[in-house]
């Protein structure tokens, strides 16, 4: 899957360069996230601004990453959700789980 991965100080920013985050590529995202945690990178920001469509498998990959972040005393934040993508988080109540920022620039710097 197409991802742009950039490191900003303590934060790894992953921009998902796909129109869809779905059952076809969710496993790829899960493995990418696992690889980062294994490298000791534990504070992740996922930028979804290019994602127009997310399904329950896409949500599942983000939940998986979130749990791994917590287990590693890290964090997984989200930014750039398009309105219809956001509505998927609301329908599944996952907007109460994730820290969600309007854009990547709105995410506060890590201490």
């Amino acid at each position: 899957m197409n991802l742009d991965i950039a490191e900003q100080k303590k934060l790894v920013v992953i921009a998902i360069k796909e129109e869809r985050l779905d059952a076809h590529n969710a496993t790829d995202l899960k493995s990418e996230l696992l690889a980062l945690f294994e490298q000791g990178k534990k504070n992740i920001l996922i930028n979804l601004q290019d994602v127009r469509f997310i399904d329950s498998s896409g949500l599942g990959a983000l939940v998986s990453g979130f749990k791994n972040a917590i287990t590693n005393q890290g964090s997984l934040k989200l930014a750039g959700l398009q309105p219809q993508v956001k509505s998927m988080f609301e329908l599944t109540r996952l907007h109460r789980v994730f820290d969600i920022y309007p854009t990547a620039a709105d995410v506060p710097e890590l201490p």
Partner: protein
Amino acid sequence: MNKNRIEIDIKIPNQTRYLRLIGKIGEELAIGLNEYSGNCNTLAYYINLVITESVINTITHANACDPDKMVHLSIGIEHDELVIRVFDEGEGFDINNVPPPDFEGLEEGGRGVFLIRAIMDSVNYRKMGTENVLEMRKSLKNK
């Protein structure tokens, strides 16, 4: 009578790479629905989602991810309803026994059937001859 009848019958290989295509077909059908009383773009997204969720269940659960199997579905307009049917020849399951997601826990899966039910007006899964059919309907009126 025929005036608004549309039937789209689709067979694709049992592979996730085709989810985009079938989701898009549903989306394009919804975008053109002048007769829909709500927002066509929202409906389009939801139909894309419902098709994606139901077909991924067929791919993984009924067809055990065998890439040589095929998936058969239909998307159509019948009497002011948008109707999606997904057929499978797997063991079947009791859709009324699928528990709602645990909103406090952090499960990775288990949200597909919940989303389908949240979006569609009626959802049922039943045996029909040698196959099973998941039938999902959404009224285009007064909603």
